[in-house]
């Protein structure tokens, strides 16, 4: 029996675990690749041989959920699952599947590990998240909000900076980015010096004690905050203010509208 996936899984299981925390957002780590054809075959085989009791997706029905089962989680290369499939658990009412071809049993095991892996890695909204799930709003209402209550048209234009915006971003990324485009944040400061002169520039650092900008001369300048007067301009101030006003309906309508800009 060759189950390359299982070796890969063993090697990567803990590496993946390291990257996923329950209390802070972490990027996903390495990815385990499953043989897609084997998963598909295993899914069909599982459905016909096991689904009636364990559920078509192995999440349980009259018989237990196999995805969060300790046996599946401890299984390596089918060492625990194959004997159960072959011999059954007659005391619990599970028949033996002694005549299933070895390849079919292997495919079932690949499928079960894929299902368990997917549940384990479900703390993620992937960039290829389907647009159909997101398109619950009304594009017309979104357009009206864009030009009206949202005040978006004060800074943005569907034929200018937002032209073809929906072609430039994956749908779920677009939804996050239009609400708060953190990568595009620009902060500048107008610093009034003790002699009354002012200097304006992009902020390199600003905290309670120090402000630092790159001035019009291209040089880095910094001052203690208590020696100068500082006015900070945040390019995303309007986005922050809007976050506290949006209804979910507004967001879904705006998304539906922006998704038409292709």
């Amino acid at each position: 029996m060759t189950l390359r996936f299982a070796l890969l899984l063993q090697a990567s299981f803990w590496a993946l675990f390291l990257s996923i925390g329950s209390f802070t957002a972490f990027a996903q780590g390495g990815k385990v690749e499953f043989d897609a054809a084997a998963v598909a075959r295993g899914k069909t085989q599982f459905k016909s041989s096991c689904g009636f009791c364990h559920g078509d997706d192995a999440t349980g029905n009259r018989a237990p959920d196999l995805i969060r089962s300790p046996t599946t989680n401890h299984d390596v290369n089918g060492n625990l699952l194959v004997p159960i499939i072959r011999n059954g658990r007659t005391d619990l009412g599970m028949p033996a599947f002694a005549t299933l071809p070895e390849s079919a049993v292997n495919d079932i095991i690949v499928f079960l590990h894929k299902q368990a892996y997917s549940a384990l890695h479900s703390a993620n909204v992937p960039s290829d998240y389907p647009v159909a799930k997101l398109l619950t709003g009304d594009a017309g209402e979104g357009k009206a909000y864009f030009g009206g209550a949202g005040g978006c048209s004060g800074c943005h234009s569907p034929t200018g900076d937002l032209a073809k915006i929906a072609s430039r971003y994956k749908p779920v990324d677009l939804q996050q980015i239009f609400v708060y485009p953190s990568a595009g944040r620009r902060r500048t400061a107008t610093v009034t010096l003790p002699d009354g002169t002012t200097m304006e520039g992009s902020i390199k650092h600003a905290d309670e004690f120090t402000v630092a900008i790159v001035g019009p001369d291209g040089w880095y300048h910094s001052w203690p905050r208590d020696r100068v007067h500082v006015e900070i301009h945040d390019s995303l101030a309007a986005h922050r203010a809007l976050v506290e006003k949006y209804t979910d309906r507004d967001i879904h309508n705006l998304f539906a509208y922006l998704e038409t800009l292709k």
Partner: protein, 520 residues
């Protein structure tokens, strides 16, 4: 208002070795030691030391520094008889508290989630350490040799451990972590000498027990319900009760297959340390679907108003609400938001915020404050009996929550995508819930815990690599130093040879601060 910790009434006597730690020493916080994760049983992180105070804090200088070959230090060290014990995942160090020189180093590589390690507990000559593969290991504090090693729970099904255990009498109280799979939470009491389990309290009740009716009946949801015990609790020696927070229910972002309040997840529970019996419970986040663990330190202090003495417990919870309870009975005293939130339809008769169905995660995304990282998190809060204020490190944080499962939801079943966050230190009036002062500490998510002292100081850090000393009464800055890295732990303090030290791990470097020799 008056604060008092009454003398222990039911402590197990232990003849401690000369340099070991007698558990009864933890009842009253000694000035020359920091014997538990929070410094004492109350969780106040208030030190009676005042050598470093408002009049001289601007003279603080570096006493020593110790760069460790490790990841960021998220633990609070113990300090007992001139020796520090601190940790990172897989590592324990014993260190001279005068100089930062390492005495011994214990390392045990393990599999499992290495997200953090909060510290050790001590009983006599023994230390207790939890590991990424969910073991509890007892070490000899003299040399770091292994006394015993037990597995608390199966790491292959998703358990891991980060927390600092708590020693109470003849019990090592140990919690567990892990919510990427749908596994049940629990709290265990272990015999400090033998490593044998004394009792186990399960987060989920058994079918038919009180609380089981807050889960769907007849299915397996309750047995996969989550509720990890991943932060150190507190203890009242007078009432002889443990107070512990529990984490989110599972599946994390989908509540449809676990309709109901899902006790005792996202709860504060009072437990008898002798038997593990539940005395009372309170649930800051009923039917949570946003990962808002209610594990933040349940801080204990007493209150006298109009001649009535009341034993209180306060928690600034990850869901954005501040709760004050009567810790004798669990009776609700006060609930107040400490950040803008948009997920609750209001408080019920018990003061518990009821979640709105329309703010549960959906396939098309819902906008929620706070995000799953929380309006606060594991960073230690503090309570100063001098000001009567409760201090927390908080954030305003907004997120879009998605429920992604197509079939039966399992594991997380989705995630939130963060939009923006701003952090602050707040001083809360526990009698009114009002924010007395708010000190902004920068964009993004804060990571620094808080220490207050009898020197009328509050120590913490901002998000811009500055260590801070604030005035606990007003929040005004009294001292700061830029250290080139983040404080991702909580500061602690101790006195040795008549000198008060302030300890601040910055990333992987331990910095010890003190007054200059001549200024003392």
């Amino acid at each position: 208002m008056r604060f008092a910790l009454l003398a222990i009434t039911a402590a197990t006597a232990l003849a401690a070795a000369e340099n070991g730690l007698d558990p009864s020493a933890m009842v009253k916080q000694p000035t020359d030691a920091w014997p538990t994760y929070n410094g004492d049983y109350s969780g106040r992180r208030f030190s009676p030391l005042d050598q470093i105070n408002r009049s001289n804090v601007n003279q603080l200088t570096l006493a020593w520094m110790a760069p460790m070959k490790s990841v960021s230090i998220k633990s609070t060290p113990l300090e007992v008889n001139g020796i520090l014990y601190f940790t990172t995942p897989d590592n324990v160090w014993s260190m001279d508290a005068r100089t930062g020189r390492v005495i011994w180093h214990y390392q045990r590589e393990s599999q499992g989630d290495h997200i953090g390690q909060r510290g050790v507990a001590m009983f006599g000559d023994w230390l207790y350490f939890e590991t990424p593969d969910c073991h509890l290991i007892s070490l000899n504090a003299k040399d770091g040799s292994v006394h015993w090693n037990i597995e608390l729970a199966d790491p292959k099904v998703g358990y891991f451990a980060t927390m600092a255990p708590l020693v109470v009498g003849h019990h090592v109280i140990a919690g567990v972590s892990g919510d990427v799979t749908d596994i049940p939470g629990f709290l265990e009491s272990i015999d400090p000498e033998t490593g044998k389990v004394q009792w186990r309290w399960n987060t989920e009740p058994k079918p038919g027990e009180p609380g089981a009716d807050t889960w769907p009946q007849g299915g397996d949801a309750i047995s996969h319900g989550g509720g990890m015990t991943w932060m150190t609790g507190t203890y009242d020696p007078d009432l002889h009760l443990l107070y512990w927070g529990t984490g989110n229910p599972n599946p994390v972002l989908n509540g449809d297959i676990r309709k109901g309040d899902n006790l005792y997840t996202c709860s504060i529970v009072a437990i008898d340390p002798e038997t593990g019996a539940l005395k009372w419970h309170y649930q800051p986040s009923p039917h949570d679907t946003h990962d808002w663990d209610a594990v933040e330190t349940p801080v204990l202090f007493d209150d006298v108003q109009n001649g009535v003495h009341r034993k209180l417990l306060a928690q600034a919870s990850r869901n954005g609400y501040f709760f004050v309870l009567d810790r004798s009975t669990g009776e609700h005293v006060l609930t107040a938001p400490f950040v803008p939130t948009n997920w609750s339809a209001g408080l019920d008769a018990k003061g518990e915020p009821r979640p709105m169905r329309e703010k549960e995660p959906t396939p098309d995304g819902v906008l929620v404050s706070p995000g799953s990282d929380g309006a606060t998190n594991w960073m230690a809060p503090s309570f100063s009996p001098l000001t009567g204020l409760f201090y927390l490190n908080g954030r305003e944080i907004w997120s879009l929550f998605y429920m992604t499962a197509d079939s039966k939801p399992e594991g997380w079943a989705g995630r939130d995508r963060n939009l923006w966050a701003e952090s602050f230190i707040e001083g809360l009036d526990y009698q009114t819930g009002k924010i007395r002062w708010k000190h902004e500490i920068g964009d993004g998510e804060s990571t620094a815990g808080i220490l207050t002292t009898a020197g009328n100081l509050l120590f913490t850090a901002d998000n811009e690599d500055n260590l801070l000393a604030l005035d606990p009464a007003t929040g005004k800055t009294l001292w700061h130093v830029s250290v080139g890295g983040r404080l991702v732990a909580s500061p602690m303090t101790y006195e040795l040879d008549g000198r008060q030290y302030l300890l601040t791990p910055v990333q992987n470097i331990v910095l010890a601060w003190a007054l200059p020799e001549k200024a003392r």
